[in-house]
Each structure stands twice: as C-alpha cells, then as structure tokens.
Amino acid sequence: MLLQLLINGISLGAVYALIAVGFAIVFSVLKFSNFAHGGMISACAFIGYFFQASFESPPPIIVTIAVTSAAGVLFALFLDAIAYRSIRRHRSPSIYYFLASLTISILITSLLNIFFSKNALAYPMLFSSTTFDLGSLKVSRMDMMILAVSVVILAALMLLINKTKIGLAVRAVAINPDTSKLMGIDSGAIIVLIFSIAGFLAGVSGVLLGCKYGVYPDLGQTMMVKGFIASLIGGLGSLGGAIAAAFILGVIEMFWTFGFGALSTPVMTFVLMLLFLFIRPQGIAGQFAKEKV
C-alpha cells in the first residue's frame, strides 16, 4: 500500500512539476507570478481537443501534443503582443505583468465558460486498459505517460537553460536585463522566448491534463494553486527547485490524504509553506529568496 501511494504520489508530482515549471521559468526572468498560465492550460486543452476532433480517426497523441504546443507558443506570442509588449516599452515595474496576467486568466476562463461549457468534452481513450499490474501494484498508464513526457521535456528544458548559449543569455537576463543589454544580449527577444517556452509548456500540460482529467474551462485555473505552491517551496524562479518541490508536494499530499483526508490538505500545504520559509527561506534550490536592494 505504501509503495502504491508512493507511485501515485510521484505521478501526481509529475503533473504538478509540469505546471510549476511553467510558472518558474517566467518568474526566473521577469520576477512575476504568471497567473495567465492556468488559463493558457485550459485554452490549450481545448485547442488540442478541437485539433484531434477534426480528424476522422484521432492522430497519435504525440502529434496532438506537438501541434498544441505550437499553438501554445503562438498564443503566448499573441498575449505578449496584446498585453505584455507595452509594459516592456513603458518599462513599468513587474507588478504590471502580474496584473495583466491575472486579467488574462480571468478573461480566458470567462470566455471558455460562455462558449464551451454546454458540452463536456473528453479526449478519446489512449489505452485499451487504464492500468497495468506491476507485482501487486496497479500503475496507471496515463500517469506513466505523463511522467515520461514531463521528464523528457523538463530534462530538455534544463539542458537548454544550463548548457546552451541561449540558456546563458536567459540566465544573464534573469540576473539583470539592463546589464545584459550592454553585453549585447537582446533582452526583449529573450523575454519573448521565455513567454514562448511557457506557452509551449502550457500546450503540453493542456493536452496531458485534458487527457487525464477531461476538458473544461476551469481545468487549468484550479490546478494553478498547486503549481504556485510547488514553485514557492522550490524557491521562486528556480527550475530545479520547482521540479523537486512538485514531486515532494505530490507525494506528501498523497500520503496526507490517505492518512488524514483531503479536506485538511490546504491547511497542511500552508503550514508546509510557512515551515519551509522558516527553515529554508531561500527555497530548495536556494536562489532569489532575498530581494536585492
């Protein structure tokens, strides 16, 4: 039973990780909590659904993910053009990004509710049976797929950020956009790149969450809180920390729910956040905790 809970917790952690990284990457560079991410996930779940529903027989899931994440990137660029670009141009403080993203999130959910709530939608089944047996354990195929996709994408992202020239530029802009500009880095382009990566992640999460939980307007919004908590425990803006914290949160939540019920989970996560801030205010990865003044 304990092993079963651990496996379920890790699967849940993979879902949280995918969401938390979407926040963390935007936070690491722009220093604001990207609330629009939840709305983007919902929107992408719908985009992916309508894409695969437009075929007679649904295309392989990987095609849907690829197309949706491309759409997610375009969507992110669109949002950048209508909401974020002028914030950059006015050199407004990052709180304006935060407000714009909040507004966008409310806007997306409201529009999805008006236009798409009449029909409950679901992706076609991917597997003929939902679980497979591993010894005495029951493992969900869907969970394993999400875990695999998350691990691949998160690994690729870490490589991109830590090993490539672009990644170096991203890290430089994260530390100081103005100095990076003097070093010849186009920080505007890097910021657009960051939004695109977040859009890409929203696309992937949208399809995977849609497959697992069904497609409805509040899908991303309701998951967002967990992603925030994970990215906070991980140390805001740290990708590795967010991933680690997401898995820890998934496992702890699973065991807590089993032991004490789900009703008190928000109390537990809040206390956990406070404890973490007391013991390790710099987060798991130990960056960005103290504001540079």
Binding site: L5, N113, K118, A120, A122, T130, S140, G261, A262
Partner: protein, 392 residues
Amino acid sequence: MKRVLTMVIAMMAISLALFAGGSAEESDPNAPIKIGSIQDLSGSASNAGQPNAWGAEYAVKVINENGGINGRMLEIYTEDCKNDITEGLNCYNRLVGEIGVCAIIGPALSNPASAWVELSAEDEIPIVGHFMDEVCTTNPDTGETYPFMFLCEPSCSQQAEDLAEYAIRELGKSRFAVLYNPSNAFAKAQVDPFVAYVQERGCELVASETFGWSDKDYSAQALKIVASGADCVFLGDYLAQMLIAYDALRDAGYTGTIVGANTMAPPFADQVKNDVYDVYFLQNYDMLNPDVGNINELVTKHMEETGTTSPQVNVGFGWDAVMVLAEAMKKAEDPTNGAEVAELISQTTDLELSGGITLTINEQHRTDTMGMYIATYDENGEMIIVGYEKVD
C-alpha cells in the same frame, strides 16, 4: 489632465445612464406579463444554467403561441447570476426593482437562491425553481415555510433517499462509502441525507472520503475506499469531478457498485476511461423515451437549436418551472399579483409536467408526489431506465 477629466465624466455619465432607464409602470390590462429567470450563464455551473434558461424561454414561447395567459403574452427576462450570491442579488433586484417582473424562475442552484428567501416575501414575488436544498423553502430555525419560494422537483434529501432506498432494496447493498467535494454545495446537500438514510436503515458507512476544488487526483481516497471493503460508493458532484472519481475508483481496483447523482447522465459513459459497469444514478425524467410527456421533444429541440451534443435534463427544469407558474397565473384574477399567484401555486395539484409525472405542491412548498428514475448504462454505454423510486 483634460483626458482624465473627460474619462471621469464619461464614467459618471455611464453610471447615470444605467440608473436612468426602466421603471415605467404600466397598468394596461392587456400589456405583456413580465417574468424573470435567474440562471448561471457564464459561471462555473453554466453547463447546467444555459439549458435551464433555454427551457424557460422555450416554454414562454410555446405558451405565447398558444394564446398566452388568458390572452396576455408573457415576456421573460433572463439574468446571469454566475452561481454567486452578490450577482444573484443584483439579478433579483434588477428584475424586481428595475424591470418590474411579477414572478421569477429560479436557478437549479441553492446558493444564490438562499439569499432571496426573505426578499421574495417582502416584495411578494413568487419564485419557482429547482433549488433543491430544503433551506430555500423552509426556515430551518423556525420550521416555517417561506411563503413565496416553490420547489418543483424532489428536494435533495428526497433524491438521495430514493437512490439509497434503491441501492439497499433492489441492489442489496449494505456497506456504503461516499466520495465527494464538501466545498460543492450540490454534492454536500445530497451526501448528508444519503448517509443519514443508509445509517437509519441499519447499513454501515465504511468510508467517507472528500476532495477539494483544486484537487485532481483522488487515488489515495479510492485506495482507502477499496481497503474499507465498501460494496457501494455514492458520488454526488458535477460531471467533471464524477469522471475523475469514477476512474480513480476503478483504477484502484474497486469493482463494486457506484451510485450517483443525476450529473452521471450522458456523456458520462463516453468520457470515463474505464469500462462502465454496475453504475446506477438518479434521473428526473425518462428523457430518452418519446412516449412520456414532452421531455424527449424538449431535449431534442434544445440539442438541435444550440448544438449541444448530449441531452440536458435542465431543459426540463426550466420548462417545468414556467409551466407551474403559468398554470397558477391562468387561474388568477390578476396574474401580475404576486400574492394571489403564490397562493395559487401553493394549491397546484396533479399538474402534469414535461416528464409525464404529475406535481402537487405540499405545505412545505415542495412536492411529495414526484419520485426519481433510476438509470444505468447498458453494455454499449446507452442510458437505460431501470426503475422509479419514491420514498414516503
């Protein structure tokens, strides 16, 4: 600076314009009768509110085509309450204070409706709806019935008891478990009476598991239910959560019976990932059967007109509420007199509704005459009605 000033003035002007309109009282005896309809059109329960609004509007259209209320036309004003109390009060106040309606069709939600219980008595506005929680019709402190609130479907405890009775008697279940979201009033209002009823009948409640709005993984809860040895699990949430709960239970290896609220209706069977077997759920209408009432005609028409892909039971709710109201108005000397209409609604007896079942309003302004259908899915995932249950 000028821009600021003009902006402020413009905003003031808009707000004044808002206050300027309306409130033209007409006493013309042949003028249309205004009624209101408050539904969730853009909030979290809009998938239920939109068909409900459609059903009410369609009923008004049909009544008007057949000569209206003794020759007077009905005019329906639909307001969006977003399943929120403040918005619901805005809707109510706008309909009553601004538009001047003389009766209101209520939502299928109890939260907004519970804020109108005393207002409706002060303003003498009858409210007919499907807010299934008893607190909307009876004051739990004093036990008094709210004089202007009317429920025209079985209340949530009646529904839950009907299902529990069926599970105990027909399915022979004795070890029950519940898995629900206590933050969802719809689920909460059904789970409590369900649990009370099965315990009263001497059955055991072996597990009571919960989840919250932001939880998406119920596998720990499902494992506990499996371990508790339950042979019947009750689910009472909205469709999205029902799907996850069903799959979590089956994934965890639960093979027993799953019973649920009327939200388990199609497209539930098409959307769960596991095989659908041994599920029984409540239905207000036998809506796929063209031979009883006109419910089948209504849901079909709604699907055609709005592009909805599965039949929506809420269409019948909107229709029924308007019919109950219209019936009382037809008998009234002055159909715009709220007090008289409310009195006549409370005397409603044997009125046939869209589902072919007759409605009689009792002293608590609810109904004892209506039971609930019990439905299941066959091996092709088609919904079939297997029983009709009414606990006295």
